[in-house]
């Protein structure tokens, strides 16, 4: 078969899986929240509330769509589109599994292996804030504007610590390609062994970048009604909320690829599996790890209270940034003593 066609099919499958996981994350989040608060959670639509996401989608589509008359119409529509676009673009460089052989041809389950994969990821993440900023500003609402401004300053602040945490990782792995990082962890230990501090910094920054509690200041409902999406209704609101779930899923995938061995698992070559079967098991293991981190996102959200805004900024600039610099310094020193540079 044509390699391009195969790539197109892989793109479609990953697109569908991303949307499916994001859809069922909404259900999962409500179930986890219910469990942590000693409630039942959604249980009316389908067995165990499994059809709840469908009902939510129907509700979102059927609601009246309101564009405020004093808003900037085009930018108002553009905001959620950019949020959704940048959220979906990040999945391109993630290695979802190893090679698969079909009819004598071998395909990789990664959409494209960029040799600057990490930088691509970082670039797309840094563009994600535009959706929120443009949407919040175009609404012509004070609360939306405050949410947008909070989102932008928060993202800028935490991107720095995140980038520095990644630099330490790049120092130990010596590559910018996600596929190579994952393959290196097959031979040695998972990267969390080498970069424990970097992992903690990256994890905290991932929470901040996805605007999840305890960092959900941009949409903090007790102060700002709905933050940047106060004026949004119908599926445009749905896009904003959906983009957040996609971001959460992709961030979990990135964390797993960077620090937890990606699709590798211990003793995978002693199982006696080969070729396609090994790849399938690896992909299943990868998704289990990713869903574990998605659960962690829920768990934190329903456990910790929200930060105050000055606490958030202090944490970003006065704790995480120096820690990330110290991490780079320690990494460099260790590598020097071990004779790796």
């Amino acid at each position: 078969m044509d390699p391009l066609l195969i790539k197109a099919i892989i793109v479609l499958i990953i697109f569908a899986i991303t949307l499916l996981v994001a859809t069922y994350s909404t259900w999962g989040e409500r179930k986890v929240a219910a469990f942590l608060q000693d409630r039942v959670g959604p249980n009316r639509a389908g067995p165990g509330g499994l059809l709840q996401p469908l009902a939510d989608a129907v509700k979102m589509f059927m609601k009246e769509e309101i564009i405020p008359s004093v808003s900037n119409k085009w930018l108002f529509i553009l905001g959620p589109c950019i949020s959704m676009l940048t959220a979906l673009m990040t999945g391109v460089v993630i290695p979802w599994g190893g090679d698969i052989t079909l009819g004598g041809q071998t395909f990789n389950l990664q959409i494209v292996d960029l040799n600057i994969g990490i930088l691509y990821l970082f670039g797309v993440v840094s563009l994600g804030v535009y959706g929120i900023m443009i949407g919040g500003w175009a609404s012509n609402n004070k609360y939306s504007l405050l949410g947008a401004i909070r989102a932008s300053s928060q993202m800028i602040s935490y991107e720095i610590a995140m980038g520095l945490a990644i630099i330490a990782l790049v120092m130990t792995t010596g590559t910018l390609s996600l596929k190579e990082i994952v393959q290196q962890q097959d031979a040695g230990f998972a990267n969390i062994v080498y970069q424990p501090l970097g992992f903690v910094i990256f994890l905290i920054c991932a929470f901040a970048e996805t605007n999840r509690a305890p960092f959900d200041l941009p949409e903090c409902e007790t102060e700002l009604i709905g933050g940047y999406h106060t004026e949004y209704s119908s599926m445009k609101l749905g896009f904003f909320l959906f983009a957040e779930y996609i971001n959460m899923f992709i961030s979990s995938a990135v964390i797993v690829s960077f620090y937890f061995g990606g699709y590798n698992f211990p003793f995978q070559h002693e199982l006696g599996l080969e070729g396609n079967w090994l790849t399938i098991v690896q992909t299943i293991v990868f998704f289990m790890k990713v869903l574990g981190f998605v659960f962690f996102f829920f768990w934190v959200r329903w456990t910790l209270p929200r930060f105050r805004y000055d606490q958030l900024m202090n944490l970003g600039w006065k704790v995480l940034l120096p820690l990330a610099l110290v991490n780079i310094f320690i990494t460099g020193l260790t590598m020097w003593f071990l004779g790796k540079i």
Binding site: I116, G123, S126, L127, M133, W137, S152, E159
Partner: protein, 169 residues
Amino acid sequence: MSISQYIFWFLSFVALISALMVVFSKSPVYSVLSLIMTFFAIAGHYLLLSAQFLAAVHIIVYAGAIMVLFLYVIMMLNLNKEAEPHKKPYIQIISFVAIGLLMVTLIGTLKEAEAIAPSNIANNVGGIGTVEQLGKVLFNQFLLPFEISSILFLSAMVGAVYLSKKNLQ
């Protein structure tokens, strides 16, 4: 024409149109958004020249960080009024001359740029823009200018932090 030529013309068209939009649009927010479009078109040009690293860094630094701050300031100060005070004619002439001189300097520099092209990438044409090549050139041949420019950035950062301190003596 080959496909890369089509892409080149398309990107140049987008870059020029959005650069003109930066100057001519009345709302500062539209100016910033068009400037982001320009940066994307230029990043596309870098990709055509197989300089992926430069393209990625261009997007991260300019579109991802600097323009976010621009947009942040414009939104926070609510600069969206179209009735900006008209500048005096002599100020316009001065700025025109200054920008013209800057352009002449840039063109002059770029014409001479070929003379100092790094020597060790000439024999590796395929991977000019890769991270490995760029790193080797920057940290061997151009180490001193690289470090000096980083010190320049550091001093600018220290200056900005000092100015933003509330209780200046």
